[in-house]
């Protein structure tokens, strides 16, 4: 299939926008709770990050541990 046949794709925005990536840079190694593209809580565990988000009435954040030095891991 050629590029012209594909046309311009409908694109879903990235899971992590540039501004959020810059913010995550400050939280390497920490668990963060993300909501609406912004960090709403930072903690040492997923449960703590979730609880801090819930204190802000955010019940369904995205929880994510920011890699310090992300390496590609594959296993069999």
């Amino acid at each position: 299939m050629t590029r012209s046949e594909i046309g311009e794709p409908t694109v879903v925005p990235p899971s992590i926008e540039d501004a959020l990536a810059d913010e995550l840079e400050r939280h390497k190694g920490k668990w963060v709770a993300i909501f609406n593209g912004a960090v709403v809580a930072v903690a040492d565990s997923a449960a703590e990050a979730r609880d801090l988000a819930q204190e802000k009435s955010i019940t369904d954040p995205t929880l994510f541990r920011v890699p310090i030095n992300p390496n590609r891991i594959a296993y069999y």
């Binding site: 409908t10 694109v11 992590i16 990536a21 840079e25 929880l63 541990r65 890699p67 390496n71 296993y75």
Partner: protein, 150 residues
Amino acid sequence: MPWYSYSATPAGDPKPLVVVRLLHGARQVRLIALVDSGADGSLLDIGYADLLGLDRAIAAVHQATGADGGAFEVYEWPPGLLELQFESHRFPFRGAFIDFGGSADGENLMGRSDFFSQFIVQFWNSRQLMNIDLSPDFPAGDASAQLKAH
């Protein structure tokens, strides 16, 4: 399904990341994972297992090998306990968990054993896009049937 933009990463190159939901009964969590065709199985930070109330004492511990050849332990729970959901499609989780420890030198992976069994994934690297289409093998909303079949 449409194309998905690669995501910015902290001080790194854009990567094909997706938001997925991990479910254990009534408990669930949204997380971010790398779509990794090189990973035989999905691999998640064990912090999610702890968060969802999974008991490490009943997990099977296996040795696995990383892309760099290094060995590490992974935790696996019995089939049928966990599900993944991407967009509106829910399916059994067949991966494992890893304890990254204090180093946090890793990231969640969506691998071939479950994610790539459900979706047809195309990477358009020059445009930093990926296309994720539901496999014709699995009609939408069929997770319960899949769990019974396995």
